[in-house]
């Protein structure tokens, strides 16, 4: 059975401006003149339950692609559709709600709120969802325990090591049981054993929640968990490789077709 992709990127490009006109009240950039192309003509489809690895040197467009997939940014041209909805057609408010309901993001630099405990950081999206306090605490504690941080729930980020902060960030991304997990260098601060544990957790999320997971990393062992590996260079997809031993989608899936299309670019 062929399933429709949860993410469908069509001819996706993102350029960033330098200069442009300035707002006369606030002096900030009001319009952007495209001068730097971070992503160019990317076609990519991602299915539920699939883990996508994203590799490439710095500046290759990995983070830009992740931002667009997450709905943090909008493309200059082309479109990103989530379950058939073009994210560019959504208002800023609707995209924010979309991220809350459907997307979990692990940032490369964690971006935890230093004034809150590890548990409060993890529970933060549940506050926005209006979940009861007891449920928030229980869910956040369970996830932190699953990440091996059961004894650190009340610690603030500044009292945690880099690896511990990274696991808190991962727990926060998973707390809403998202349909799409975006992770930028999720094992960068972790030792091998903990990294494997976290990757195993991503596989469980993909399998149990039927969620798509996109991982950007420079670390080949981390990327080995992916069903497909997207190699990027100069803002373009250079190659999409179906990794051996993956239990991902069928070879005749749209994603595979898309990969073949991109390989020809």
């Amino acid at each position: 059975m062929t399933r429709s992709p949860i993410i469908n990127c069509v001819n996706l490009s993102r350029s960033y401006g330098r200069g442009g006109s300035r707002n006369r009240w606030f002096g900030s950039d009001n319009t952007e003149t495209p001068t730097v192309t971070a992503l160019s003509n990317v076609d990519l489809q991602i299915e539920r339950g699939e883990i996508i690895g994203c590799a490439g040197p710095s500046g290759s467009g990995k983070s830009t692609l992740l931002h667009l997939l997450a709905g943090l940014d909008t493309p200059t041209t082309g479109s990103v559709s989530f379950d058939g909805t073009d994210l560019s057609s959504l208002s800023d408010r609707a995209r924010t709600r979309h991220r809350l309901d459907h997307v979990g993001i692990v940032f490369q630099h964690f971006h935890l709120l230093e004034s809150l405990s590890a548990r409060a950081n993890v529970a933060l999206p549940l506050v926005e969802l209006g979940r009861p306090k007891g449920e928030r605490r229980k869910r956040a504690t369970e996830l932190l325990e699953a990440m091996g941080l059961g004894d650190r729930v009340t610690h603030r980020p500044t009292q945690l090591s880099g690896g511990e902060q990274q696991r808190v960030a991962i727990a926060r991304a998973l707390v809403t049981e998202p349909d799409l997990v975006i992770a930028d260098e999720p094992t960068g601060e972790l030792d091998t054993e903990t990294g494997e544990h976290v990757l195993k957790r991503f596989r469980e999320v993909a399998t149990e929640l039927d969620a798509a997971v996109v991982i950007a990393s420079h670390d080949e062992p981390t990327l080995a968990i992916a069903d497909r590996l997207v190699r990027m260079r100069d803002g373009r997809i250079e190659d999409i490789e179906v990794l051996s031993g993956s239990d991902g989608p069928h070879d005749d899936s749209p994603a595979q077709q898309s990969a073949q299309t991109n390989q020809g670019r």
Partner: protein, 409 residues
């Protein structure tokens, strides 16, 4: 979103907000946080002091009577003066003048008024200065300086036949200051004669009027003159006249050269001005406090937002709506201004206390600034207004910074 879910969200948001504010004030940005608190506190504190002084002025009544119509005063003095300095111009031969006026058909009564600070003491010792007001009693002349004249024998017997009555009516403020009650003996030293004069408290005014808290002792004019030396020239600072005849005014102006005649209408206008002045002071102080406090809070919270733009972007990125982010900033700002208001009110109360101490040690025995409960409430209200006025600026800032796409940049 259901109602229960909405409240869960609001309570959760407030928890996060208070936690963030606490950690910021104690650990991550204490300088900036306390600068905000200090700015509001200073503005509110100064406003509380100015308002307290305004209220103090308003509650210290002028020396005039509600049941007289004309005031004859020396040209250099105003009819509504609260206190007449001992060295100010005085009228002479006031008893016969007042008697002549009272004998006029168109005048109901006339009485000289002499005001002098004197030192009274009870038999228990410990003297206190009060403002003595000497008058010639008349059945229709029922109050002076917001103090009743009931208990004084009409006609000033000591002047008429040398009978020393020793009657004194104390305002509630004077009675409280002296701890004196009706029938109690109070003594005043006669500087001129080097001896003492005894008085008996005829009445203690229960204090229903605004000026009753001021320490005032009303007594027979001639007896006050005898104490202060005004009997030599039969002096008084004013003559009050009760009459319904509008033609009396010109006649009164001819009695003494270089004198002014004030009418009730004129004094009422003056009274309105006197009553509105403290209000104007308070309003001006409030406006200045609001402007300064709001600018202060806007500046410091603007700095905080700029410093927090990464965190705000993170919140946006993980799906926290702009409304919630604004709610977080708003509750943090309102918390800071509320703490600023509390500190400001305490500072203001301290300032009022200090003002009264300085005033009492330099130029008055009473309080020049008042700590009415509404002054305290006023301080809190103003701090709330400061916080609320800063919120639109926060909303504008939030629309400019901390957007999701800024995360990680």
């Amino acid at each position: 979103m259901g109602l229960a879910s909405f409240f869960q969200r609001v309570f959760g948001l407030l928890q996060v907000s208070f936690r963030r504010t606490y950690v910021r004030a104690t650990q991550t940005a204490p300088g900036r946080t306390w600068l905000s608190v200090g700015g509001v506190a200073l503005a509110v504190g100064l406003m509380v002091v100015v308002t307290g002084i305004g209220v103090g002025i308003a509650t210290q009544s002028t020396v005039y009577s509600e049941n007289v119509d004309y005031w004859i005063t020396p040209e250099t003095d105003g009819g509504s003066s609260a206190l007449v300095d001992a060295d100010s111009p005085q009228f002479g031969s006031v008893h016969p003048t007042a008697a002549d006026l009272t004998a006029t058909d168109s005048i109901e009564y006339a009485s000289p008024v002499l005001q002098q600070p004197i030192r009274l003491q009870t038999d228990r010792g410990g003297g206190e200065y009060v403002l003595a007001v000497g008058i010639v009693g008349h059945p229709q002349f029922t109050e002076i300086a917001d103090t009743t004249t009931a208990g004084l024998t009409p006609g000033d017997p000591y002047y008429l036949n040398g009978t020393w009555t020793g009657e004194v009516v104390l305002s509630a403020g004077a009675a409280e200051l002296l701890s004196a009650s009706e029938g109690e003996r109070v003594t005043v030293t006669r500087p001129q004669a080097g001896s003492e004069r005894n008085f008996s408290v005829a009445t203690v005014d229960p204090g229903t009027q605004s000026g009753s808290q001021f320490p005032i002792a009303v007594m027979q004019l001639s007896e006050l003159q005898a104490i202060t030396g005004g009997d030599v020239n039969d002096e008084a600072g004013q003559i009050v006249v009760s009459s319904t005849d509008p033609n009396v005014e010109s006649m009164l102006g001819d009695i003494y050269p270089r004198s002014d005649v004030s009418t009730r209408a004129g004094l009422n206008a003056q009274a309105v001005f006197d009553e509105q002045l403290p209000l104007a002071l308070s309003v001006t102080a409030a406006i200045i406090a609001i402007v300064i406090g709001t600018l202060f809070v806007m500046t410091t919270t603007g700095l905080s937002v700029a410093a927090d733009r990464g965190k705000l972007a993170t919140l946006a990125a993980i799906g926290v709506s702009r409304r919630t982010r604004f709610g977080l900033l708003a509750s943090e700002t309102l918390t800071i201004t509320a703490v600023g208001g509390l500190v400001g009110v305490l500072l203001g109360l301290g300032g009022i206390r200090l003002t009264n101490i300085v005033a009492q040690q330099t130029f008055t025995s009473g309080e020049v600034a008042s700590t009415e409960p509404f002054v305290i409430a006023f301080g809190f209200v103003i701090s709330g207004v400061i916080g609320l006025l800063a919120l639109p600026y926060l909303a504008v800032l939030l629309s400019r910074v901390g957007r999701a796409k800024e995360v990680g940049r």
